[in-house]
Amino acid sequence: MSGSRPGRPPVTFTASRGKGDMDGAPEASRRRAALMAAAQLGDAQSYGDLLNDVGPMVFAFLRRRVRDADDCQDAYQDVLLALHRARHTYDPHRPLEPWLFAIARYVLSARERSARRAFDVALAEPPEPAVAADGDTRVRLEQAVRDLPRAQREAMVLLYVDGLPLEAAAERAGTTTGALKVRAHRAYRALRRLLTV
């Protein structure tokens, strides 16, 4: 994906000339701007090169902000998708990085907001009437809970099994109420996905 295709004209780093905003920018930054400019014109090879180039940078950015590894991977995919959808808004006369990290920050905050909202809705819903689970369902449920990451399993147990209030559960888990909500929501989604397959 990152290698050059034989016969393909090289991407030249001239997108910023004469505009001032990219003057003095590092070579790598100018190269990314040129790759994105080519990608906007439909050059698939340049686009692949760009995504391979910015991938580690984006992932490092997310790793510093998202503790859960699975969630970090999901966020990474969301950032690349958002970059793809918003690529027409990039101005090649400016550095790519502020544009890219604005999108990454937005994706993180959107995910957090969405998870909290969904969890609040789940908390507000009345509990479903208990049903007698058959043996197969019980086994699948136990297995699914065991398969949850430790932090998510802990949130699930504290809130749904022990029935602790949110603040008390967060204190017990040594985290904030917001973070615990997010963990429990992820656990809830993971279980729902596993049990509806």
Binding site: G42, A44, L51
Partner: protein, 219 residues
């Protein structure tokens, strides 16, 4: 740095989907287009003006200052809206300039002397005309912002609303025959605030649906 296991597959998917895209025009060019639309609305308002002395009033420095501040605030708010549609561009300094100009405009209304003709009917007429004159600039700016990728839908909605309805207020200032300070504050300024609030609600909901990042609940 080790990349996620899905990196190669997602890159392959995105690369396979890459098509030429039409780049956004620079914000200055897009702002110029919007200013032309707004200026057309102002010219129309001057043509249908109920005040018989528009030409004479335009010779008054205070009147011209009021119009200039309103139009300047609207243009700055429109610039903020267009910047808000581009990731990584900070609209806040321009938005602060818009707020300052709008506040100065309201201050000039405050020092307007009392004048005859400030009836309730005239007030309702002005309040109703502001959204009418602001509608086309609002639609044009919404379309321009939606073409981009606004990351702060509420902020973008506020800037769009402020820009459009400040132009509505400038148009009504051209058309309204009443120069009374209280009339201007109550029936010209407050509707702008109210319609900007409505624009935030309407635009934010719509723009949020077009968000570039779906988030986990919608994925």
């Amino acid at each position: 740095m080790r990349l996620p296991s899905a990196h190669d597959s997602i890159v392959a998917r995105l690369v396979a989907d890459v098509r030429p895209v039409r780049r956004l025009w620079p914000p200055v060019v897009r702002l110029a287009v919007w200013v032309v639309i707004a200026a057309t609305v102002l010219v129309l308002a001057a043509r249908v003006s109920l005040r018989g002395d528009v030409a004479g009033a335009l010779g008054s420095p205070r009147y011209v200052l009021e119009l200039g501040l309103l139009a300047g605030a609207a243009a700055a708010a429109a610039a903020a809206a267009l910047l808000a549609a581009i990731p990584g561009r900070d609209p806040r300094p321009v938005a602060a300039a818009a707020a300052l100009l709008a506040a100065l405009s309201a201050t000039t209304f405050l020092v307007e002397p009392a004048a005859p003709g400030a009836t309730w009917f005239a007030g309702f007429r002005c309040a109703a005309c502001i959204p009418m004159f602001g509608l086309v600039p609002w639609l044009a700016l919404i379309a321009a912002v939606a073409r981009g990728a606004p990351l702060d839908a509420r902020g973008a909605g506020a800037y769009v609303g402020a820009a459009a309805f400040l132009i509505g207020a400038a148009a009504v200032r051209l058309a309204c025959p009443v120069d009374d300070g209280h009339h201007l504050l109550v029936w010209h300024v407050l509707p702008v605030v109210a319609w900007t609030g409505i624009s935030v609600l309407a635009t934010a909901t719509w723009l949020a649906r077009r968000a570039v990042a779906p988030g986990p609940a919608r994925s």
